[in-house]
């Protein structure tokens, strides 16, 4: 057992993947000597060299576009996008090329590319450093999308993402990078929970509270704080595809669902989940599915982010609303 933060666990997972497979490469801005602005690639440049840890020119379209070419040549690139808001110059390569390559080539081309993106708010940053762009990825066929909420998942899921032959958008909850826990790095990857599976983070009986990434901690705090209701917290882990059997099972048991995320409300992940749960669990629902999300506005200046981000109070308010029926 090793005590690791989420950031260090991803770092250890990257290292394990690079040791396991010489085709695994890391590329991005400042990932080399600096070890990335969050130090997630710390030490990799020193140990694996400039051929496998590539400090790229400052161009996100270039990073993703060349990763596609590397993948065609048999490599497994792990690209780092420095912050959520800087993904957008790479949107074309991601949406028109990366996501569609397998289908376009009738399966002859695989795109084992992982795109790591530190995402979400709560760090007091300037513009474009606090966004939650997951809905854009969810809406694009051909991409798998996951987000981690604890060091254990960080360590294993980055390795699973790298072994996947599909492109994986790997969303890292930047305000939780420093959360610590014990990780059994000696265990075998075969025993780790599959990347696509949701997890019951805390069992309960009265209401299901579904979250992923940075909001899982808030959801667990809400379950702790609410002494009137027994809240079951689900950590979604995979946003595309969603592990619906686990979601449905929980909702059929509790009869209520609250979905919390930092992404904006309209067209957000919660909207799709609410629709599916309504279709499949209609007769078990005691209340409509409640969403607790960011407002439909641009991410505000940092002095307002405490109001903009769904916090403990807003999540509890959402739970209360689910019991108003």
């Amino acid at each position: 057992m090793t005590n690791l933060t989420i950031g260090k666990a991803i770092n250890a997972g990257l290292r394990a993947a690079m040791e396991h497979d010489p085709k695994v490469l890391v590329m991005g801005e400042d990932v080399g000597k600096l070890g990335g602005v969050f130090r997630v690639t710390d030490g990799l440049y020193k140990d694996f060299g400039a051929d496998r840890v590539i400090d790229t020119p400052l161009a996100e379209s270039g990073i993703v576009g060349t990763a596609i070419g590397m993948a065609m040549r048999g490599y497994r690139p792990v690209v780092e996008i420095q912050f959520d808001g800087f993904f957008f110059p790479a949107a074309n390569q991601t949406f028109t090329q990366l996501a569609k390559m397998r289908r376009r080539s009738a399966g002859k081309l695989s795109m084992p590319v992982v795109m790591r993106i530190p995402y979400g708010g709560g760090i007091g940053a300037v513009e474009h450093h606090s966004e939650s762009p997951e809905s854009y990825f969810l809406h694009t066929a051909g991409l798998r999308v996951v987000s981690v909420a604890n060091p254990e998942d960080a360590y294993w899921m980055i390795q699973q993402a790298i072994r996947s032959d599909d492109p994986v958008i790997f969303l890292e909850p930047k305000r939780r990078y420093y959360e610590k826990a014990e990780v059994d790095t000696e265990a075998s990857i075969a025993e780790a929970a599959p990347m696509g599976a949701a997890r019951v983070a805390r069992p309960g009986t009265d209401v299901t509270l579904l979250a992923y990434g940075p909001m899982v901690k808030t959801a667990l705090q809400a379950a702790e704080a609410d002494t009137d209701h027994s809240i079951e917290v689900l950590d979604l882990r995979s946003l595309a595809p969603v592990d619906y059997p686990t979601v449905f099972e929980s909702v059929r048991k509790t009869g209520r669902l609250v979905v919390a995320h930092e992404a904006t409300l309209t067209g957000g992940p919660g909207a799709e989940i609410a629709a599916r749960v309504t279709e499949e669990c209609f007769y078990h629902l005691e209340a409509p599915v409640i969403r607790v999300a960011a407002f439909d506005t641009p991410y505000p200046q940092s002095r307002l982010e405490e109001y903009y981000l769904p916090d403990l109070d807003r999540v509890l308010d959402g739970v209360d609303r689910a019991f108003a029926y």
Partner: protein, 367 residues
Amino acid sequence: MSDTGVHEEPELIQLLTPEGELTGHPDYPLEISADEARALYRDLVLVRRVDSEAVSLQRQGELGLWASLLGQEAAQIGSGRALREQDMAFPSYREHGVAWCRGIQPKELLGMFRGVTNGGWDPHEHGFHLYTIVIGSQALHATGYAMGVQRDGALGEDGTAVISYFGDGATSQGDTNEAFNFASVNNAPVVFFCQNNQWAISEPLERQSRVPIYKRAAGFGFPGVRVDGNDVLAVLAVTRAALANAREGNGPTLVEAFTYRMGAHTTNDDPTRYRASAELDEWKAKDPILRMRRYLEGNGLADEEFFASVDAEADALGEQVRTECRSLPDPEPLEIFHEVYAEPHVHIDRQRAEFAEYLASFEAEGA
């Protein structure tokens, strides 16, 4: 040294040596009065003070972040003072010296880094667009604005020129290269002003370009020039010439101001992880303020009293910046919903109303 292999390029335009000797340059004659020279010195000292105060304010928790211009004062003051009132500048996020020249109050810059606004000043009123953080984006905005100027027929001797600021790292970005090309094929009245401070966070210039940056312009079909970015007189003369060229309808120029980021990338950064301190020492000898001071002293253009008065003014400005920063009010929570759309919008209206009710419920509880 950042191993760029381009430090010793001979084409560097310089008017003032690091020792403060005025050598001049045949292609860039500059008539400058003692008053003007002193005013430039004052600008340099004052913007450095605003900058160092901002760094301390960040350390004290008053700002979330600050991107220091330390070392780049001459590049910014020289180019900023070359602009005319009607000109339009498109900055990145480090152009506090240019902002100063455009009449933006330090507290307006601090407001953004404190997190109380996303910029806030009126770009039209100042001829200075908002800071742009997504690298390279503003080069295209500048080019489009210049194409508008062109269509307005606002060229000629008293016409309008546009300038776009960006860094060495930004020259890798697609947007920047597209801007070069759009400006070129349209012969747009825009100056691309690249502050090559040798670093893009931890990446040295060699990770961005194998040729000196100014030479890239040739491939796009317009002139490029490298100026000593720590020489305020050379930057002033070269930028003026490039702006005049644009103004008169002769199209874009790429100005590469060869300078050095003497501080960290931002207050979040730790440059000891990736660069040697010897490099900093080498550039300290080329300090833009020291050089101007030597020039003024050496030529009897300013006396002790003048330097003392500028220092006193800087102290007062520092005090003002500290007080103003601390008293910047936090925005009201409902400000989140302001100015998202020009016309009323049902989602926003509904969410604002719900959130107002939600906030009021706490007040009711507290009462």
